[in-house]
Structures are given as C-alpha cells and as structure tokens.
Amino acid sequence: MPNLSVPRKCTKLAAAAGLNFLLALICQASGSPSFVSFLTEKQNDPAEAHLQQGLRLAQAGELQSAEGELRTAVRLKPDNAEFLSSLATVLAIEEKFDESTSLFEKALKSGPSDLRSRRHLAANLWQLRRYAEAKQNLIIILKVDPADSQAKLLLGMVSEKSGDHATAVTMLESVPDLVRRQPEAVVALAKSYYRTGERIKAADSLRALANGPLKAQGALLGAQVACDMQDYETAETLLSAIPAEFSDAAAARYCLAVVKFHTKQYQQSEQILQRLISAGQKNGEILRLLGWCYHKTNRDEDAIRTFRDAVELNPTDERNFLDLGGLLLEQRKFAAALELANRSVNAFPASADALVLLGSIELATERFTDALKTYSRSLSLDLNNAEGILGLARAQAGAGMGDHARRTLDEAIRRFPGRAPFEVELALLLLKESENGDSNSQTRTEELLQAAAKHDPTLAEAQFQLGELALRRGQTALAIVHLENAVRISPESARAHFALARGYRRAGRAEEAEKETVLFEKFKKGDAPGATSSPSNVPPNE
C-alpha cells in the first residue's frame, strides 16, 4: 500500500524561504569590504577588465551580462581561483547551482584556504541537498575559524536537513541574531527542537516568527511547521493570530483545515474547505483534503468523486493520483485503481511512487509476476523507496521466490538499520516459512520483531505478532501484554481485538474476551460484497 499523501504542508513558503536564505548568505558576502576592494585592482589586464566589468554589472543587478563578462574572464584565465569564485557566485545567485558548485570546487583546488568560496560552496551543496558534502566543507571552515557565524548558521541548517538535530540545535543556538533574521533558520531550529523533544522551545521559536518582521506571513509559516511536526495546538494558536484581512488568508484557512483534520475535527475541516471552494479557491490540494475528510467520515463514494475532481483539475500533481489510487485500492475497486495507476505511470514516468501504486494494485490482485516487474522499475528510479523495497519483497514472496524476498529484506535492513517496517516484513516472511516447516526461522523471527518494536514502539504489527507468538507458546500473560499494546496503538484493528480475545479466553477472563470479540466483529470487514476475501480471488470489475 503506497504512503497516502495526507496533506501536511499548509503552503510552499518553506521552499521559497530556503532560496531567500541562500541569497542572503551570498549577498552578505558580496557586500563585504574585501569584495568591494577587489573591484579596483588590476584593471590593465584584459581578463581583469572583464572581471571588473562583471562585478560592476553584478552589483547593479544585471546578472546575465555579469555572467557573460565573468565567463570571458574565466576563459582567459581558467585557473584563476578568484575569477572562478566570482563567476560561481553570480551563477549561484542565478540558481545555476550545479555549474556554480563545480566552479567553486575548481576554485578551491587552486585556493583551498578561501573560506568565503568554501562557504558559498557549502550553501550551494545545501541547496542541492548534498548535505554530507556541505557538512564536510563547513567543518573545514570551522576548524580554521571556529567563530565563523555564517558557517555555524549553515551547518545548523545542514544538520537539520540530514537528521542530526542535536548538532543543528547547538549550531543554531550559537548564532541567535543570524537565526532571527532568517525565517528558514528559525524553521530549522524549531524542527530540531521538536525532534529533540524540546516542544516548548520549538513553539516559542515559531511564535517568534509570528512576532518578527514577517508578521502574519511568519505566523502562517510557523503554523505550517507546527502542523508538520504534529504540534497542532501551536499551529492553531498561530493561525488564530492571523488577521482576517491578511493577503494570503486563503492559505491560512487551508492550513487551519489541515490542523482540524489532523485533530480529527473532520466536520469543521470540511466546512472550512467548502467555504474556500465557495469563495472560488478550488484547487487540487483543497479538493484532496476534502476527499480525506469524506474518507474519514465513511463517505468513500464522495471521497472518490472529490479525488477524481482533484485529478481532473490538476493532472500535473502526482499526489492527486496517488491519493485517489490509494483509496480505490483500499476500497478494492481494482479495475478503477489499475486504470488510474497506469495513467499515473504514463503521466509521471520518472515517479517511483506512481510505480509503487501500480505495484500495490498488482499485489492486491495477486499478479505477483507483474508486481515484481513494477516494483523493480520503481527501485531503478529510487533505490531508497521504502514502499518499493517492501513491495518487491512481497511480490517475490507471493510469486514463490521466498529466497529472493529474504535477500531483498536482509539487504534493506543492512542498508537502513533501525527501520522497523523492514524488520517486521522479514519477520512475517520467516513466520510463513516456519509454518511451512522451517523451524530455524523462529528464533530470528522473534529477534526481528523485538528489534522492530524497540525501533518503533508505535508499530502495531510488531506488537501483534509478538503477541501471537506468545499465544502459540502458551505464554498467555506475555501475549496479553503485547496484544493490549497492539490494540492501544491500533484501536480499530479487528485482528488485534480478535487475538486479544483469544488471550483473555485462555486466561479465563471471559468477560473481557467477550468485549474484545464484540470489537472484533465491529471492526472486521463483513460478509458484504467487496469485503476482504481470501487470496487468489478476484473481485468484480465496476
């Protein structure tokens, strides 16, 4: 099943803020005295003349002309570090990051002690999401100049992006003035606070955004971040501070609808979205969230219709296809899901997620050999796509290629240590094999499940399977512990309730067993047409 892209981000402010940050970094450097003095030296040399002209044009904002002059200068003196660095800087401002990066790297080969160029290179690499390389360069800078505040700021940003939140907090806290001036830095700090458990500090940072020069825009950005980090209370507080006359009020309302959705206030979310649509704000994102509201309130036909509208309104947004496809799959409307998935693959040929959706449908209809090919294609586009890896393993197992499936999952665990879904999937595969007589699998199965539970305590499946294993061994008390966890994590899981009922029954707790049985009956898919069926069965086409 593909990751259904429930809307989390309220706006695209974050991306825009990132570019602004880079420009600010470069412009600050460009305005430095050393840069200005550069202008007056060596004017008799033709290459120098082109350089000087290029710099003057750059300062005047005529970047294209500046680029032309600087290219000429570099052509005349291709190994001159300063020429290379200047051209690279202008290219960075023009967002030609790849070429800019290689020019900075060339410049640094000639002049490795040029901290400014190295800092700009790091900024480029951050922009290009090459965080490890960015980090390397920043560490070099800080070794030479531990007080380099720009480098600290950038290292904080890079660390946040690469998941090293503790370093991000340390670095960003050390340059508070710089952080305050850069919304993206504030966002990075807030996210790192969230991820290191400092929710209050995170909320304070985001509130500072709202109180800063960005005002309402800052509040909206802060709300978006808070929402993203599941701090819905802070998000709602920030949104409530945005005045009605705010120029991007629609974005704020949408963000509020997202918050309401995630706090299970589906009706309120729906109302906000309907009002936005009535006010002429209909777009794919709004329709998708509305579709999700319908889904959550068991109006799946309305949800499907709304998701379809989103696709038709914005056929270039892949998320519309993925959400619709995911719901059709969940509803077992396989023919429609398949048609949509194929359309999605054709529309987004470079998308691994589109292929994952297609593969999921093929898996659900037990077309394992087709699913094998599809998932393999998805991984050729994105080797790190977790759903793709899981899907491939399931397709391999389904097609009777158990050995291959095991290898796929073993490799995934090796490459992504601590990723509980891979551990659980391998455990399930080994469980099946042990049912088929391979008793060597049982020990490893339990180890994997224990590891998965430790790596992700919110993974109901690990708790459920541990409970099942304990039940089989007659360890009823232990089974009940695990199964109660499973039910707590996933209260609408029919089989968790079923298994817990079995545990209670064995423990002589008949009344509790009966309650769990009632819950099982409530949540299981019934005998109605289209309900969960046994494998190798094909539901009818619509």
Binding site: A335, T365, E366, R367, F368, T369, D370, G398, A399, G400, M401, S434, E435, N436, G437, E468, L471, A494, R495, H497, F498, A499, R502, R505, R506, T517, F520, K524, D527, A528, P529, G530, A531, T532, S533, S534, P535, S536, N537, V538, P539, P540, N541
Partner: protein
C-alpha cells in the same frame, strides 16, 4: 446377550470363492482367485496404496460443468459423489451428480447423473436412467444419502440451483422424486452440501442443507485476472442462511430454519458434518463456510442450535480471517476420544486441523501437524479421514483444484489442476505426504471436487471416489499391503434412526481405545459408506475385541468377543419393557 450377526468380508456370486474368502479373512489376508489375478495384474505397482480403476470398473460417465465465457461461479463449484448400497446386496454402488448447462455453456448431449451398480466383480453398471435419477431439472451440486423413512433402503437428496430434490428408494432398483410432497425443495437457493441427522432424537432423520450464495444466471458480474476473464471472488456474492428440515415421519418435512435459529446464520456455507461435539448425546453440526465464519452449532436439545464458533475458535483463523472453508470432516485424530475437524481452504490459507481440547477452545494444529506445509499451494474441496493402512491412526485424503485457470499467469507455485493428497498420520498428529507411494493418481493433477470414502470391494480397506469439474471421476481401489487388522460395523437403529447417524463407537483393542462416529454429511457435496471401518493396527486375528455403541437415541450397547477383520451388522437392542 446382544444381538449381532457377523457378515462375511466378500459377498461374491461365486460361493466357492466366498467360502475360501471367509476362511482367509480370519487370518487377516484377502485371498481369492479374483483378488489373485488382480494382484498379478498390479504386481508392478504392489507397493502403491491406491490404484485408479475407473476404466476397469467400466465407469464412463463424465461431469459437465457448463463452463462458459460468462464465468458463472457455479461452473467451478460442483459436484458430488456418493457410496450407497441401493439394493441391499451388500455391495456399495456409486451415485454421481452432474452439473448442468449455463446460458452459454451448452452440452452436446443430455446432462445426466449416473448411478453405478456394483456388480461384485470389480465392474459397475450405470442404472441411473432405469432408476429414474438420471435427470434433474436444475444445476446439480451434491448428494446426501440416508434412509429417511427407515424402510431399510437408502434415499437420495440431490442439492443444486435453483432448487434441490429428494428421491425415495422404491426398493426395486428405482427411485421416485418425492420433493414436492416431502416439502424439501429448498427453492430459490443455491444449495451445496447436505447432511442427514436426527437433531431431536425422535428416530427420524432430519436434513440440514448448506446454502451458498445469492446467485442468478442473469447476474453480470465480470472479473479478470491479467486481462483474462476469470471467476469472481466469493465475496462478490452475498451469503445465504442454512435450511433445516424436520422429518415429520409421514414422508413430509417441515422447514424449521427459523425456529432452530439457522435462518439467522447468513454466510456462504459449503460443507457440513453432523457429530456430537460436546458428548451430551445430541448431534451437533460443524459448518464450513467460504470467507464467512465457520459455524459450530451446538444442539440445545429443544430444536434450536447455538453457534459457538467464536468461543470455540473454529470460526476464524488466528488472524481473525474467515478462511475459504469448503470441505469438512470430523474424526478422532489424536485418540483422545473427542472429534477433531479438518477443513479445506484456499491456497496460502492451509487446510485446517482443529483439535478438540475438551471444554476450552479448539487447538489449531494446522502448523504443528504439518498440514500448513503440506497444503499451502492447494485449493482443497473434498476431505475425509481415512485409515488407509488400518494402523488405527486416522489419515487424510483430500482432493484439490483451483478455480481459475489464469492463476498460472500470476503465480509460479500454484497450479490450476492440482494433485490429491494422501497424508499419513504418524500417530502424533503429525502428517506426512504419501505422494511417492500413494499411486499415480497422487502424482497427477485434477480439477477435483467431491470425495466419497467407502469399502466398495468389501476387503476391509477403505477405497475412495472423487469427481472432477469437467470430466470423468476417479475410482480408487486401496491395494496397500494388508499388514494390519480391522473391524467394521454396519449399524441398524431400531428406536434410533435406522442408519444410526449420530452413533458413537468405542473399540478397545490391545489396550488401545479407538473412537469413531457415524457422522452425517462430511467431505464436500458427498456421501459415504454407511459402515464404520476401523483400523486396529497389528492386532492378532485371535484377539478378542470389545466395543461400546452409543446409539443416537442415547441407548448404550456393549459388544464383546468381537473378532478382527470382519464386518459386524449390529442391530440396536430394544430397551427392556
């Protein structure tokens, strides 16, 4: 002294052979010129357990399923077979239920059932037309055989869509369709398996009918696998309640489905076995249902039944999923005196082994017994316990076959046609696949469905017959080495129903206690030898055996000084005035 009469093993027209046979049956071996010649003919396969004797037996009937481009699910679900002694000559005859035509699945010749009379020499003759049971006005599914009027001759209930039919045995080789006057038409229903049993212990057999799903040939469900038209999932069809008919004793039945509580139990029911589950002397029911929860219906002794499937943990698998239950049988697989159930399911679900644990829930030993490993790739239908080697341990015979030919385009390990399985119980409720020794049939692939068990050549070794979707059935003869002893019982009720369905027999042999039941129904769409054949293991021919029979009406009868390797015809002793 209880009244009983021993029955010779082989009743042959050739009396000299019979006498020879009688002499040798006491020594536990089967020997007569016919057997000898057969043994010589089969010498190269002497180590095999079963031999396909369909052609030799003269069985030429073929099933017609009405397969069509429309892919109606009913085309892939039937049909049944029954062993019965239609004329009381001591030889088991065979009845086959045919399918039928569908709107675009027409037959070039009339679709007929077959009733093969056992001629006693390994040959059979089709008398269906003469008997009046060859044609039915509906799509045939299964058959349940029993003497519903206690006149000593078995009658036939043939199930199907959109109704079913009851044929009364006229005792002269013919049958009369008495459906309407009996009131057992079960109209507007797609009926699958049926079971005769006496739920109120009035000495008359009642009838439970499993109904599968709401269905119509006008239904335009269309499904595909990989772009190829396929049969739709069973969950595309809404289930139906069971039907329970009470035998009023005058050739009439009353539909008591509502009163009994069965009318509320809606699901896709396919298999049923009637057996006393809780040892209270009243016959209960296990109903196997397809992607609906299995039912364990406990007889409340007041005409009603209570479903305890959930509490007994037989309704779903461990994950709370209702498996695709098709066939079912009950037998004491671990010699604890309690009935255990085997239920056939779809591939990847495993055929289930549910072992009775007394008062608590059933113990799902599907994995522990090896059944999971052995049945993973198969879609199972008819299933029956069979002690093929008479060692006293109940083995399993299961027939398989997928429903969609297109499965082979999506799976490398599951085939459309599948082999039957002979699984030997090693005595610890651990099963072993006997494929290598079972016979060529077990290394061949079929679209098998119904399975009936019976000792049709009266040699004390259980034989079998199974049907195939679109083609000839397979009649199997057990030719295993007769290394162990056996004993057989043909029970005749007097105050209990004449067929003694619901009886429990406990045999004591060499410190071993073997329990068997005279069940109603079981397997899939099929009906079995009314005799109870019990393998005894290496008990010597001179051993004295004891047996206790608990009759369906509760009477208990004890038999002593029984000898192995013979059938006993036991008549229920009437209670003293």
């Amino acid at each position: 002294m209880s009244e009983h009469r021993s029955t010779d093993g082989c009743r042959s027209v050739v009396r000299a052979v019979a006498r020879c046979f009688l002499a040798t049956v006491l020594s536990g071996t089967c020997f007569n010129p016919l057997c000898d010649s057969e043994a010589q003919r089969v010498a190269p396969e002497a180590r095999q357990i079963f031999m396909d004797v369909t052609d030799q037996a003269g069985i030429t009937w073929r099933r017609f399923a009405g397969e069509s481009p429309d892919r109606f699910l009913i085309e892939t679900m039937g049909g049944g077979a029954a062993f019965l002694d239609l004329d009381g000559d001591g030889l088991l005859d065979i009845f086959f239920v045919n399918g039928g035509e569908t709107p675009r699945g027409k037959s070039s010749s009339p679709v007929r059932n077959a009733l093969y009379r056992n001629l006693g020499n390994g040959k059979f003759e089709d008398l269906a037309a003469k008997a009046g049971v060859d044609r039915i006005g509906f799509y045939g599914m299964g058959v349940a055989v029993a003497d519903f009027d206690n006149d000593g001759f078995p009658d036939l209930y043939v199930t199907g869509f959109p109704f079913s039919a009851l044929f009364h045995n006229n005792r002269d080789g013919t049958f009369t369709d008495v459906t309407e006057q009996a009131g057992v038409k079960n109209a507007e229903r797609w009926a699958a398996s049926a079971a005769w049993f006496d739920f109120d212990r009035d000495g008359l057999l009642d009838l439970v009918v499993t109904n599968y799903a709401q269905f119509s040939f006008a239904d335009e469900k269309k499904c595909e696998i990989g772009g190829v038209r396929a049969y739709c999932a069973q969950t595309s069809y809404i289930g139906m309640p069971l039907t329970l008919f009470h035998n009023e004793g005058n050739g009439r039945f009353t539909d008591v489905s509502v009163h009994s509580g069965m009318a509320k139990l809606v699901g896709r029911a396919l298999g049923v076995v009637a057996v006393d589950v809780n040892e209270d002397g009243w016959t209960d029911l296990f109903v196997a249902r397809d992607a609906s929860a299995n039912l364990l219906l406990i007889n409340q002794k007041d005409g009603t039944f209570q479903d305890v499937g959930s509490e007994a943990e037989v309704a779903y698998d461990a994950a709370g999923v209702a498996k695709a239950g098709m066939g079912v049988d009950a037998g004491d697989v671990n010699e604890d005196g309690r009935p255990d159930f085997v239920v056939t399911n779809f591939n990847d679900q495993y055929h289930s082994l549910l072992v009775g644990a007394g008062s608590g829930p059933y113990d799902d030993q599907t994995v522990a017994s090896g059944l999971a490993r052995l049945t993973k790739k198969f879609v199972g239908w008819g299933a029956h316990y069979i002690d093929f080697d008479n060692d006293g341990n109940l083995d399993l015979l299961i027939v398989n076959g997928h429903i969609n030919q297109a499965i082979e385009s999506t799976r490398m390990d599951v085939k459309y046609k599948q082999p039957p399985l002979l699984l030997r119980n090693d005595g610890n409720t651990a099963f072993r696949d006997m494929r290598e020794r079972a016979g060529k049939v077990f290394q061949s692939n079929y679209s098998a469905r119904g399975l009936a068990i019976g000792d049709w050549n009266n040699d004390g070794r259980a034989d079998a017959v199974f049907t195939c979707l679109n083609g000839p059935p397979v009649l199997l003869k057990n030719i295993s080495e007769p290394e162990n002893s056996w004993i057989g019982f043909e029970l005749q009720g007097t105050t209990s129903n004449r067929d003694a369905i619901g009886a429990k027999i406990t045999i004591e042999a060499d410190r071993r206690r073997l329990v068997r039941w005279m069940t109603g129904g079981s397997s899939y769409l099929s009906s079995h030898d009314k005799r109870v054949l019990v393998g005894l293991g290496p008990v010597s021919a001179s051993s004295n055996l004891r047996a206790e029979i608990r009759w369906p009406n509760g009477n208990v009868q004890r038999l002593t000084e029984l000898k192995p390797n013979r059938y006993y015809h036991v008549v229920e002793a009437r209670p003293a005035p």
